[in-house]
C-alpha cells in the first residue's frame, strides 16, 4: 500500500464540497433521518405547531391527551406538543452554535500545534490541559455567576470548554498527515504553507473533525439541557426541552407528561447524533486501516 | 510394535456457521512414539497449526472435528473437561509461534512460569519460584532471579521464547507441541532457541511434534517428517529420506524452491500458482492444479499409500521416482 493513495482518498472524498456520495449503513441512515426530521420540525415550528406555545388556558390545566391537545396541557394549560415543537429551536440551535464555535477555535489551534510542534505545541497543549480540567457545566455555571443566567453565557462557556475536545483529536490527525510524503514534497517544492494547509491538511483531517464534532454535538445538547434544567440557560417563557424536563411541581402532583416527552426527545436526539458520530469515527478508522 | 504415544487417525475439521462450513483438515493421520520427533511441514494455511491445536482441543469457535486422536491410549476428544485439563497440565505442552502475543503482557515472568505449578499442582509459592528460576537457567537466560520480576516487554523476543519453552517444560510433559517456535525470531536467535529445545527435550525424554514451514530445519531436528498441503498430509517419510528423495511432486517442488549454497542458479525455482486452502480443493489431488506432472487420473481422489518406507498421496509417485533416478544417473554421467 502506498501512503499517497491512503491519504489521497479522504481528500478526494471531501474536496469537491461534499459532492461525493455519502456511503452510510442502514442504522446511520435512520439516525440521519431522525436528525433531519428534528431539524425540519425546528425550522417549521411556526407552521406546524398547533398552538401558540405561550398561550395559557388556566381553566384547562394538566389535561390529558385529547383531539384538541394531542399530548395534553401543562400546569398553565399550555399545549405540550406546541411547546415541544418550539422547544426544538433552542434545544438544537444551542449545541450547534457551541460546536461550530469550538471547531472554529479548536481546529486552527490544533493545526498550528500539530504543524509547527515545539513551543507552539507545548503552549497550546498546556492551555488545553487547563481547559480540560474544567468540566463544561462548571465553566458555564461560573459564567452564569459572572454575567447572570441566559443562553449566551452558557453557550460561550460551553464553546470554550469544548475546544479541547475538538482540538485534541484534530491535532493527532494533523500529526498523522504531517509526515506524509506528498506534504513533504509540497514543502520541498516551495508551496506556501497556507496553500498546503488549505489544499492538503484541512481536507485530510476534515472527516475526523466532522465525526468528532458530531459526537460533541450530542454532549453539548445534554450539557445545555442540564443548564436550562438548572434554570441557568434559556430564560423567560421560551421553552426548551431541558427546561421542560424541570417540571418538579407537576411531577410531584403526578403529572409528569411534559417532562417525560421532553426527556424522550432529548434521548432520541442524543442517540441519533451519537450513533452518527460513532459511525463516522469508526468508518474513518476503518478506512485508514483498509487503504 | 508397541502402542504409539500419539496417534491421530483420519482427523478432519470444519469451521464456520450452519450455512457455510469450511474444511480445514482432511483425513490427517500421524503417529509419534515416546521420545521421538515428528516434523509437520507446510506453507501457511496448510493446516499444520490447526492439527496441533486440535490435538490439544484448542479449537476455534464453531469448529467440528471427526476422527480419532489417541494419547497414551486415551481418546482426547472424548475426555471430560477436567480430564482434558489434566492432560494439558501434565502430559502435553505447547510452545507457540509468537511469544510476544502468547505471554500475558501485564504479568511478570515469574507469575507466568509459576502459575501452572501453583494453580494446577498446588506447589507452594516459594518452591514454584525456585523451580522457575532453575527452569530459566536451563534455557540459558542470564540473571534468572531478576527475570522473574520483569515483565514481558522488558525482554527480547528470543528471551521471551526461551521463557515460554521453560514454562512448557516445567510441567515435565511427555509430548511437546512446538508451533513454529522460531519463526518470529531473528535468524541468529533461531538456531540457539532450536538447540535449547532439542537438547532439553532429549534430556527429559519428551516427544515433540515440530511444526514449521522450514523443511531443512525440520529435517535437521526431526526423526520423521510429514508434509501438509491444503489440509491433508501428502507425504510422510523418515527425515533424511524425504529430503534426499522426495516422492510427492509438492515435496520436490518445496525442496527445489529453497535457496542453496551448492546449487547456484540465476533465478530461484518457485512453485507456480498459489497455495490453496483445504476448502478450495476439489475432489481430485489438491496439488494437481499446480503440479507439472498432473494428468487425467490426478482428477480422482488420492489416498495416502505406502511406498517403501514412506507414505505418499500421489498416483504417479513410482513413475516420477524412476524418472528422477534416471535423471540423476544422467547428471552423474
Amino acid at each position: 500500500m502506498n501512503a499517497l493513495a491512503l491519504r489521497r482518498r479522504p481528500l478526494a472524498a471531501t474536496s469537491d464540497g461534499g459532492a461525493a456520495p455519502l456511503r452510510l449503513g442502514t442504522g446511520a441512515k435512520v439516525a440521519l433521518a431522525v436528525v433531519a426530521l428534528l431539524a425540519l420540525v425546528a425550522l417549521l415550528a411556526p407552521v406546524i405547531a398547533p398552538y401558540d406555545p405561550d398561550k395559557q388556558d388556566l381553566l384547562n390545566i394538566h389535561a390529558g391527551p385529547s383531539a384538541d391537545h394531542l399530548l395534553g396541557t401543562d400546569q398553565l394549560g399550555r399545549d405540550i406538543l406546541s411547546r415541544l415543537i418550539w422547544g426544538a429551536r433552542p434545544s438544537l440551535a444551542g449545541p450547534l452554535v457551541v460546536v461550530l464555535a469550538a471547531t472554529a477555535v479548536g481546529v486552527p489551534l490544533a493545526l498550528a500545534a500539530g504543524w509547527w510542534g515545539g513551543a507552539v505545541d507545548t503552549v497550546v497543549g498546556r492551555a488545553l490541559d487547563l481547559l480540560f480540567a474544567f468540566p463544561g457545566i462548571l465553566l458555564a455555571v461560573l459564567a452564569v455567576a459572572m454575567f447572570g443566567s441566559g443562553m449566551v453565557p452558557c453557550v460561550i462557556a460551553l464553546a470554550i470548554a469544548f475546544v479541547p475536545l475538538i482540538a485534541r483529536v484534530t491535532r493527532s490527525a494533523v500529526l498523522g498527515v504531517r509526515g506524509a510524503p506528498y506534504i513533504a514534497a509540497a514543502e520541498v517544492v516551495g508551496v506556501p504553507t497556507a496553500r498546503i494547509w488549505l489544499r492538503h491538511l484541512l481536507p485530510n483531517v476534515a472527516p475526523i473533525v466532522i465525526a468528532q464534532a458530531t459526537v460533541a454535538f450530542g454532549y453539548a445538547l445534554i450539557d445545555l439541557a442540564v443548564l436550562s434544567f438548572l434554570g441557568f440557560g434559556v430564560q423567560g417563557t421560551t421553552p426548551d426541552w431541558g427546561m421542560m424536563v424541570n417540571a418538579q411541581q407537576s411531577i410531584v402532583q403526578g403529572h409528569p407528561d411534559q417532562a417525560v416527552w421532553a426527556g424522550v426527545l432529548i434521548v432520541v436526539a442524543v442517540s441519533a447524533v451519537s450513533y452518527l458520530g460513532t459511525h463516522l469515527t469508526d468508518r474513518h478508522h476503518r478506512d485508514g486501516r483498509d487503504a | 510394535m508397541s502402542e504409539p504415544l500419539l496417534e491421530v487417525r483420519d482427523l478432519s475439521m470444519t469451521i464456520g456457521g450452519r450455512r457455510r462450513r469450511r474444511t480445514i483438515l482432511r483425513d490427517v493421520s500421524l503417529r509419534l512414539d515416546a521420545g521421538r520427533t515428528l516434523g509437520l511441514v507446510g506453507e501457511s494455511g496448510s493446516g499444520k497449526s490447526m492439527t496441533a491445536r486440535s490435538i490439544l482441543r484448542l479449537l476455534p469457535a464453531g469448529a467440528r472435528t471427526e476422527g480419532t486422536v489417541r494419547f497414551d491410549g486415551a481418546s482426547l476428544p472424548d475426555l471430560s473437561p477436567a480430564q482434558l485439563r489434566r492432560v494439558r497440565a501434565h502430559e502435553i505442552a505447547m510452545v507457540f509461534q509468537d511469544p510476544r502475543a502468547h505471554v500475558n503482557p501485564v504479568r511478570t515472568i515469574g507469575d507466568f512460569l509459576t502459575e501452572a505449578l501453583v494453580l494446577n499442582d498446588g506447589v507452594a509459592a516459594a518452591e514454584a519460584r525456585d523451580r522457575a528460576r532453575a527452569g530459566l537457567a536451563d534455557v540459558g537466560l542470564s540473571e534468572p532471579d531478576r527475570r522473574l520480576d520483569q515483565h514481558p516487554h522488558e525482554l527480547s523476543g528470543g528471551m521471551l521464547q526461551r521463557v515460554m519453552i521453560a514454562a512448557a517444560l516445567l510441567a515435565r510433559p511427555r509430548l511437546l507441541l512446538a508451533d513454529e517456535p522460531t519463526t518470529a525470531l531473528d535468524v541468529t536467535t533461531q538456531s540457539e532457541v532450536m538447540a535449547i529445545v532439542d537438547e532439553l527435550r532429549r534430556e527429559l525424554g519428551t516427544a515433540m511434534l515440530f511444526i514449521t514451514h522450514d523443511l531443512e530445519l525440520a529435517a535437521a531436528v526431526c526423526d520423521e517428517l510429514a508434509v501438509m498441503y491444503a489440509g491433508e498430509i501428502v507425504e510422510r517419510a523418515p527425515a533424511a529420506q524425504l529430503v534426499s528423495s522426495p516422492r510427492h511432486p509438492y515435496t520436490a517442488a518445496l525442496l527445489a524452491a529453497r535457496p542453496s549454497v551448492e546449487r547456484r542458479r540465476a533465478r530461484m525455482a518457485t512453485v507456480g500458482g498459489r497455495p490453496i486452502a483445504a476448502y478450495e480443493a476439489g475432489s481430485g489431488c489438491s496439488f494437481a492444479p499446480r503440479c507439472p506432472h498432473a494428468e487425467e487420473r490426478c482428477r480422482t481422489a488420492q489416498a495416502l499409500r505406502p511406498l517403501g518406507t514412506a507414505e505418499v498421496r500421489c498416483c504417479r509417485a513410482e513413475e516420477l521416482e524412476t524418472a528422477a533416478a534416471e535423471r540423476g544417473e544422467e547428471a552423474v554421467r
Binding site: P135, I251, V270 | P105
Partner: protein
C-alpha cells in the same frame, strides 16, 4: 542440566532487560507528574478566582442593592472582603485562606463559607461514593456477563445499555422521581434524611439515577475489553496449560481488561462530580450542588468560588488518580513513561 549455547544474547552493555537507573527515572517521572498536578491546580484556582473578580457587579452591590448606606458601613464591608487590595494580593490572601480551610465569608448567609460547605460536602461525597459503587458493580457485572454469555444474555444487555447510554442523568433522575417516588411511593421524594441508614435510603434513588448512564458506559467497555481479551493469544496459552476456566477468566481475561475498564470508570467517577450537582438539585439533597445553584442565583461569590474550586480540584485529582492507577495496571505504560521522559 545445562545447555551448550551462547548464553548472552545481547552485545555487552546493551542488556535489553535493564534500564540502568530505572528507579530514579521512575521517581523523576512521578515528581514531574506531581509538579504538573500542582501547577494545574494553581492555574485552576486562578481561573476560578479571577472569573468572579472580573464579574460585573461587586459584592457590595449584591449586599446593599439600591439602598443608601453610610460610608462607614460601606468601608467596613470593603475591608471585610479585602476589596481595596490589589487583585494579586487578594488572590494570594484568598489562596492562603483556602489552604488553611478558610474560604471567606458567605455574602448571603453572613457565615464562614466553610461551615456551610462541610455538611453539604459530606452528603455529596456520600452520594458520589454510593453511585460509584453501584456503577462499578452493575457496569462491570453486566459487561462481564454479556462477554461470557454470548447469545441471548449478551443481546439483552447490549439492548438495555444501548438505550440507557443515551439517557442523560437529569432525564433519568426526573423519570425515576416521577415513577418510583411519586407514583409508587417506594422512595422519598425530597431531602437528605437523618441518620446514616435513613440517609442511604434517601440517597438510593439519586444514586441509581447517577448509575444508569455511567454503568451502561462501563458495561459496554467491559464487554468489549473482555471479548478482546478472550480472543487473545495469551488466553490460549493459559488454556493450553490446563488452567481452570475460572483462573483463566480472572487472571488473564479480567485482569487484562481492567486496564481499559479503569480508564472509563475513572472518566465516570470524574463525571459524577458534575452529575451530583444536577441530581442534588432534583432531589433537594442539600449537597454541594444545591448549595452551588443557590449561591449562583444569590450572587454569593465567595461561596461560588469555594464550591467551584472544590469541584474542579476533585475532578483533577480523580483524573490524576486514574492516570496513576493505569500505570500500576499496565507495566508497559510504566516503561514508556520512564523512557520518554
Amino acid at each position: 542440566m545445562t545447555v551448550n549455547v551462547e548464553r548472552n544474547l545481547s552485545p555487552p552493555g546493551v542488556d535489553l532487560g535493564r534500564f540502568p537507573s530505572r528507579g530514579r527515572a521512575r521517581a523523576l517521572a512521578l515528581a514531574r507528574h506531581l509538579g504538573g498536578l500542582v501547577a494545574l491546580l494553581l492555574a485552576s484556582s486562578v481561573v476560578v478566582f479571577l472569573s468572579l473578580q472580573l464579574a460585573p457587579g461587586s459584592p457590595e452591590s449584591v449586599l446593599f442593592g439600591q439602598q443608601q448606606v453610610p460610608d462607614a458601613v460601606r468601608e467596613a464591608v470593603r475591608a471585610r472582603y479585602h476589596l481595596d487590595d490589589p487583585v494579586p494580593l487578594q488572590y494570594l490572601n484568598w489562596l492562603a485562606g483556602v489552604l488553611q480551610g478558610d474560604f471567606g465569608v458567605s455574602i448571603a448567609y453572613q457565615q464562614p463559607v466553610s461551615t456551610r460547605i462541610g455538611d453539604a460536602a459530606a452528603t455529596t461525597v456520600l452520594l458520589a461514593g454510593y453511585a460509584l459503587v453501584l456503577i462499578l458493580l452493575v457496569g462491570v457485572g453486566l459487561g462481564a456477563l454479556a462477554a461470557l454469555r454470548p447469545g441471548r444474555v449478551d443481546g439483552l444487555v447490549t439492548l438495555l445499555t444501548g438505550v440507557a447510554v443515551a439517557t442523560p442523568t437529569f432525564v433519568a433522575a426526573t423519570l425515576l422521581l416521577s415513577y418510583f417516588a411519586v407514583e409508587l411511593g417506594w422512595f422519598p421524594v425530597y431531602g437528605p434524611g437523618t441518620g446514616l441508614l435513613d440517609r442511604l435510603w434517601h440517597l438510593t434513588l439519586p444514586a441509581v439515577a447517577l448509575t444508569i448512564w455511567a454503568a451502561s458506559f462501563v458495561a459496554r467497555v467491559t464487554r468489549a475489553a473482555m471479548r478482546e481479551q478472550l480472543a487473545g493469544e495469551h488466553v490460549e496459552t493459559a488454556r493450553a496449560r490446563g488452567l481452570a476456566e475460572r483462573h483463566v477468566i480472572r487472571r488473564h481475561v479480567f485482569r487484562n481488561a481492567l486496564v481499559p475498564i479503569t480508564t472509563v470508570a475513572g472518566l465516570q467517577a470524574a463525571g459524577l462530580i458534575v452529575g451530583t450537582v444536577v441530581v442534588d438539585q432534583i432531589f433537594q439533597l442539600g449537597g454541594l450542588g444545591q448549595l452551588l445553584v443557590t449561591a449562583v442565583n444569590q450572587s454569593d461569590f465567595p461561596m461560588v468560588q469555594a464550591i467551584c474550586l472544590l469541584l474542579v480540584c476533585a475532578f483533577v485529582l480523580v483524573n490524576t488518580g486514574v492516570d496513576l492507577l493505569y500505570r500500576v495496571l499496565d507495566p508497559r505504560l510504566r516503561a514508556a513513561a520512564g523512557a520518554r521522559r
